[in-house]
Amino acid sequence: MAELKAAKSVSENPCHMCMPIGGILPLKGVEGSMVLIHGSQGCSTYMRRTIAEHFNEPVDVASSALNEKGTVYGGGENLKQALDNIRRVYNPRLIGVLTTCLAETIGEDIERLAAEYLAERGLTDLVVVPVNTPGYGGSQADGYYLALRRIVAALAVPTSRHDKINIIAANVSPADLREIKRLLVAMDIEYTLLPDFADTLDRPYAEHYTRMAPGGTPLADIRAMTGAAATIELGMTVAPAISPGQLLADEYGVALHRLPIPIGVAATDLFLRTLREITGRKAPDDLLAERGRLLDAMIDSHKHNFAGRSAIFGEPEMVYAVTRTCLENGIWPTVVAAGGAGDAAVSLFKAALAESPEPSYFLSETDFAEIRFRSAAAGVNVAIGPSDGRYLTEKEGIPLVRLGFPILDRMGGQRILSVGYTGTANLLDRITNTLLDAKHHSYRSKLYEEFYKGRRLHMAPAQAR
């Protein structure tokens, strides 16, 4: 495996976004919460647009709307006024305050401002969670886990031991979250799933609209995560400093199991086996039947898959899970790009890709110009990742299997199911069928060129004219 880092001064078509957008998602998965972005108006609007288009849901995110005056003299008053207005319109129980490049650069102390605000207004019920998410400080994946960690830190209180399991979810789809919950229910395990935007970002149509979406992880459950039997964090690529599970382990002694997102046979097995180790409960026959069906599906499609050379990109955790799934199925990961992956993640990817018999490139700091160049040169024939990968389809004719966040050019980003045995079978079918489709489109002309037209040219050049 070759590891590449761009040595360029310019990014050509970014393949990741910034920290605050990652921070919004877990906050949308907490019951009764609102988000405030401390910065200029555009940040919240761009992020709302991206999230709304991916989930096809209204996404209310407030901005402190910093202007020149606030930038020069400090944005504290803006921040407090914004909190007042959010309370009036939404009456939330928790408000996450995310910073931006601007707020960080002018040195806003949101920790102090939040504490001052609560004291000045005499608020004892409202929780304000300040999260430092400078746009230049990392990718959306960093913002996602850091916001989760701060939510846990803000709410956690010492609790007596109980039997629930903490599940810290990666940035998967609402359909994936529902599937994780279904697996836990099937195993008869009590759990706290954080975040849980299964309902808040995939809201059923209802006759009466409410500004705050029903659902999300209850605050009381988050408070009690400190007494859980164990934490399973879907975050192999996450630095310990921003890991919520690590915080629960270090400060409250909750045993931490870090697992990959359960996509693929091995990762789903590992997830269920870990649950069994913690709780002593076995997977029921229904789940084992699902496993059998997945194996059946893998066998059915294995020869088609073996022709696959994949480019995989997106958030590191999802890219890692998909890379392992591709390896399981002979869809050899050829160009793997995880924007913003740290050193620990890089060694994980190296170890995984070492299993591949085919050459592969791992790109940790990259852009779509680089991914395109490598993919074309290495003969990639299927791309797997968010919508921006359509650039590879448009420029190089490499078809895209849309997966991850954000999906902006297709319907149903919120409904894509990829976790568990059933979700993996769905994902695999999508990849295999993309390969089949590409083959069907080209095999007639390709064989004609190679064995008919080409042969005539070779054997009797005079007649070929």
Binding site: C43, R49, E68
Partner: protein
């Protein structure tokens, strides 16, 4: 009602027809915590300049700003497609501390070496405004190093709202089109052609209008900025008249071109049958009438004969419905009110992100008593007034769409990345068809009730 208006200071931005429109507050900063639908200065500048097809659009800032605006508009090109890339200096913490000027210079050098452009726009973002990188100096040095034009766009996100970004873009354009040579200066306003300002060639709209004008005998010199190239923009001052569709973004450039080069301008609108016909007539008249006016009338008659029956057939299905409008600019809102009237639909709520006082006065004069007029609305207000006024349909952008659908209301995309044109006679039919498609879809019959399953 009390809940939505509970945001301090928002009361002044909302009025109903029948009250004093002159007291409506607009063109002001958004209120903190109000969940405004507006973007920032950078956004305004980027959307105006981005359709210039053979330019490098380089964002000097953190990755997010470039990420959220990559290929953001559905502006079509007849040639180069360099504009569909998003370049960024991807500033990191060390750049914030030590300054990003060297990185910016190196980025320009790399891009020039790779793409050999004639024109580079360098956009500033929030943090660049704070750390004080001298964009002008870096751009100037790069321009002389490479012998091309490198234009700084002063678009720090916090320095005003989206309208300030339009102004920053107009400043950049004005600089770009300045006649450099004596021959160019002598050619100012001497051509017989016109410039078309404020069309971004979304789904080929500028091409539709260019074709109409060609049929009238009018030559379009350059479009600002849909499908524009560097070479065309450099010749912009030759035209003898500017016509302007999107006034919100282009009024400043139009008035500067008039002040400095004596090129007059007029407002036009190609949204809806009435506005399209009226605009063609006024352009022909402004260029001397005669044959042009005759050809304009022929075109209008020819197109109307084809299109009017189609519109009428939709009108029969839509009459009596109520619409809400929430769009970027005031001029678009005005056209939409008229266009809905052509379909027999009354507008009961109308608002914009960046509308100006005189535009709100026109809006007020067009709508019926009781219509809610509001500037810089937020989701809570949109929800409240759509519900109160019984709007069956909302016109807006991507962020508004899921809200309308969650409220069980129809929706029209008047956004940047749509793939069907809404301008001219062809666009009027598309608009009517989309209104029909969304208002008369069978899905609404299913969502009205909870079925027989509940209770």
């Amino acid at each position: 009602m009390a809940q939505a208006l509970a945001i301090d200071g928002r009361q002044d931005f909302i009025t109903t027809k029948g009250r004093q429109i002159s007291r409506l507050k607009c063109d002001d900063d958004s209120i903190a915590g109000a969940v405004s639908q507006r973007a920032c200065v950078y956004c305004g500048a980027r959307v105006v300049l981005n359709p210039i097809t053979d330019a490098i659009h380089l964002v000097h800032g953190p990755i997010g700003c470039a990420s959220y605006t990559w290929d953001i508009r559905g502006s079509l090109t007849s040639g180069a497609d360099l504009y569909r890339n998003s370049f960024s200096t991807d500033l990191k913490e060390r750049d914030i501390i030590f300054g990003g000027e060297k990185k910016l210079a190196a980025a320009i050098d790399e891009l020039v070496a790779k793409y050999a452009p004639k024109l580079v726009f360098v956009y500033s973002t929030c943090i660049v405004g704070v750390i004080g990188d001298d964009l002008g100096a870096v751009a100037k040095a790069a321009a002389s190093r490479h012998g091309i034009e490198v234009i700084p766009v002063q678009s720090s996100g916090f320095a005003g709202n989206k309208a300030a970004g339009y102004r920053a873009a107009c400043d950049a354009l004005f600089r770009l089109v300045a006649p450099g040579t004596a021959a160019e200066a002598a050619a100012v306003g001497k051509d017989r052609s016109i410039n078309y300002l404020g069309d971004f060639n979304l789904a080929g709209e500028a091409w539709i209008i260019r074709d109409y004008l060609a049929q009238v005998g009018v030559d379009v010199n350059v479009v600002f900025t849909g499908d524009a190239s560097y070479g065309e923009l450099k010749r912009a001052t030759r035209a003898r008249l500017n016509i302007m569709q999107c006034a919100g973004s282009m009024a400043y450039l139009a008035s500067r071109l008039e002040e400095t080069y004596g090129i007059p301008y007029m407002r036009v609108s190609f949204l809806g049958l009435a506005d399209t016909a009226d605009s063609l007539r006024r352009i022909a008249a402004a260029l001397g009438g005669g044959d042009m006016s005759r050809r304009a009338e022929e075109l209008i008659a020819r197109e109307t004969a084809v299109v009017q029956p189609v519109i009428d057939s939709y009108r029969a299905k839509l009459a009596g419905k109520k619409a809400a409008v929430y769009v970027g600019g005031g001029f678009k809102a005005i056209s939409l009110i008229k266009q809905f009237r052509e379909l027999g639909i009354e507008v009961v709520m109308v608002g914009t992100q960046t509308g100006r006082k005189e535009e709100y006065e026109t809006i007020d004069s067009l709508v019926a008593d009781g219509t809610v007029i509001l500037d810089d609305a937020n989701p809570a207000e949109l929800e409240k007034f759509m519900t109160e006024k019984g709007a069956d349909l909302l016109v807006g952008g991507v962020k508004e769409r899921p809200l309308a659908y969650k409220l069980g209301r129809a929706f029209i995309d008047h956004n940047h990345d749509r793939k069907h044109p809404l301008s001219g006679f062809a666009g009027a039919v598309n608009f009517a068809a989309e209104v029909y498609t969304t208002l008369c879809s069978p899905v609404w019959r299913q969502v009205k009730t909870g079925g027989d399953l509940s209770g």
